[in-house]
């Protein structure tokens, strides 16, 4: 029915792909084959994929979905075709996928075949999205560069010598390189937003509990959030709508009033919108990065937003609180990898049960996972619990209070997503504390549980930078309205606008 020669599939949006599918100008099979070919061409350069879903199974599923779509069209019900029906995507290797190996980029899970799929994978399956591949990340989510993958690093599509960010670096890299229409990521301290900023795409971390964590490899359970990396705020909102919702398998999921995130309920546009500029995030910026951010602020003002500076004094403690709470929860969550029930095991050669534990874990975990297990165990151990873990939980309260007070004055808060654009592969991974400083602008949203999004917002010497927008808990509609308005105003300004990352990576 379709003619591939006349339909340019490059860098489609979800709605564009959906319209082509509904009009019969494109089939899910053709779209799937386009991305599989794209993956075969691009992945040798960016090395983002850890496991591909069996190709015959993917093509069979695409053909089945084509049959469904045709039936809905022919019976006069094209409106029953879901926006994600026939839409190919990828997922970070944190998501359990039945039938496809899941490792969280760790040797301790090498070859692990999940007996069930994550709730979000099931939800996307139910609406007809097509999973193509599992993509790279820092091991268990520990890192901001994807260099901590136990398998191989991933390269930034905008500059192959640079990191894609992390921990969801594979997800950001494939979305930026036009492999699939979106990717699922996880965000414990910025792992969706930071790689999105480094790769010039959109990364959305929802309110804690809006999306189920069931079947997702746990990092730090009181902070972990699931969300999309996509090429526009609209695409991200469509994915959020499909994956959000209460889940009996995850007791921390929350009910929200309106799940129709893809249809903004707030009045669109930036006019009159009260935007707070986080003072603490500007202090550490160098002149170049400050200049780009200030252009974004001017852009928002020029389009009618009321921008004021807001101080959240306890943010100065956010990174330290994060690096106590996170390793503590990590040390607890990673205790399940014991070489007994699944994962790498030294049982065959170990002398006794204790040696099975010690050796399985010694052989299976990478250096950063070991460091975090050690810090967490220390912080939770007798005599130190009060000074570290309890103290960090009290500081977390102060951070939550600062956010609540700020959102009494403004609709959304903004700041840069990162202090600087993507750094060179191998340049920062020698000193753990230097690496941790990359998270300075992203961890607070996780500590406070508020939704946050990173939008492409300009470039520095050809490298994308991100604008981070945060809203109050359950404020996804407000957040997405501002993000959409920023995006559409920037697109309308076209090439004259420094605020839109129009450049697509040349690969």
């Amino acid at each position: 029915m379709s003619d591939k020669n006349t339909t340019n599939l490059s860098y489609l949006s979800i709605r564009q792909a959906h319209d082509l599918l509904v009009e019969g100008k494109l089939t899910a099979s053709e779209l799937t084959k386009y991305y599989l070919a794209r993956l075969a061409e691009i992945d040798p350069k960016i090395q983002a994929v850890l496991a591909r879903v069996d190709e015959a199974a993917v093509l069979k599923r695409a053909a089945d979905i084509d049959t469904q779509i045709t039936a809905k069209r022919k019976t006069g019900h094209p409106e029953k075709i879901h926006l994600l029906e026939g839409i190919p995507y990828t997922a970070k290797d944190m998501f359990l996928t039945r039938g496809t190996a899941t490792t969280a980029a760790s040797k301790i899970l090498e070859g692990f075949m999940p007996p069930y799929s994550a709730t979000v994978i099931d939800r996307l399956e139910a609406v007809g999205a097509i999973l193509l591949a599992k993509v790279n990340q820092d091991e268990f989510g520990h890192g901001g560069s994807t260099e901590n993958s136990a398998y191989h690093p991933t390269h930034n599509p905008h500059d192959l010598k640079r990191v894609p960010g992390g921990s969801s670096g594979g997800s950001a890299a494939v979305v930026a390189a036009d492999v699939g229409l979106f990717s699922l990521g996880t965000d414990t301290g910025g792992s969706i937003r930071q790689p999105a900023a480094f790769c010039g795409v959109v990364g959305l971390k929802p309110t804690y509990g809006v999306v189920s964590r069931y079947g997702v490899v746990a990092m730090a359970s009181s902070l972990d959030c699931i969300g999309p990396i996509a090429r526009s705020a609209d695409d991200a909102s469509i994915v959020l709508e499909a994956i959000a919702g209460r889940d009996p398998h995850d007791a921390t999921t929350i009910e929200v009033d309106d799940y129709q995130f893809s249809r903004s309920t707030s009045p669109d546009g930036l006019k009159g919108r009260k935007i707070g500029l986080i003072a603490e995030y500007l202090e550490g910026l160098d002149d170049t990065n400050r200049a780009v951010f200030e252009e974004d602020v001017e852009f928002l003002r020029a389009h009618g937003a009321e921008v004021s500076t807001v101080s959240l004094p306890s943010l100065k403690l956010a990174l330290a609180a994060y690096y106590v709470l996170t390793p503590s929860e990590i040390s607890s969550n990673l205790s399940r990898y014991d070489g007994i029930r699944y994962g790498h095991s030294a049982q065959a050669t170990a002398a006794d049960l204790t040696q099975t534990y010690l050796q399985s874990r010694a052989e299976g975990f990478g250096a950063e996972a070991k460091r975090r297990i050690m810090i967490g165990t220390y912080a939770l151990s007798a005599g130190y619990y009060e000074a570290y873990y309890q103290k960090a939980m009290r500081v977390r309260t102060l951070i939550c209070q600062d956010f609540m007070q700020a959102f009494e004055q403004v609709d959304v808060l903004i700041g840069p997503t990162t202090p600087a654009p993507a750094f060179a592969l191998g340049s920062e991974n020698h000193d753990p504390v230097t690496m941790y400083l990359n998270d300075i602008m992203t961890v607070a949203a996780n500590l406070a549980g508020v939704p946050a999004i990173s939008m492409p917002a300009g470039e520095i010497e050809g490298l994308p930078v991100g604008l981070q927008i945060m809203a109050a808990q359950r404020g996804e509609h407000e957040l997405l309205a501002v993000a959409r308005a920023f995006e559409s105003e920037a697109e309308e300004s076209g090439a004259e606008s420094p605020h839109v990352s129009t450049a697509r990576p040349e690969l």
């Binding site: 007996p115 306890s314 065959a348 099975t356 010690l358 874990r361 070991k370 103290k391 102060l398 549980g449």
Partner: protein
């Protein structure tokens, strides 16, 4: 608080975590963990005397469900498929009692 953890202290923590560490790793950890602890020490500069702890940010308290038996959707074989050693439908481990 301290710039370096002693290797004895590192060894004690590793044992609590059931994590085998080589001598090289013990040495590196004592410096790196010391640096990380020094970094998070800034927390001690803030007075939190009357501040409650936050462990759950969305205000959920005691989320309960009825205690009902439900069928497991996953077969026993599938659940055991990832275990390193299996015998008669059970996960096989090293002797735990002498």
């Amino acid at each position: 608080m301290m710039a370096k953890l002693s290797t004895d202290e590192v060894r004690r923590i590793a044992n609590l975590a059931r994590l085998g560490l080589s001598d090289d790793e013990l040495g590196a950890m004592s410096t790196q963990l010391g640096a990380i602890l020094e970094f998070v020490d800034v927390l001690q500069t803030t007075d939190t005397t009357d501040v409650e702890v936050t462990s759950q940010v969305t205000g959920l308290i005691d989320v309960l469900r009825p205690d009902e038996v439900r069928p497991c959707e996953i077969s026993r074989n599938d659940l055991l498929a990832n275990a390193p050693a299996v015998e008669k439908g059970f996960v096989k481990v090293k002797r735990i009692l002498e």
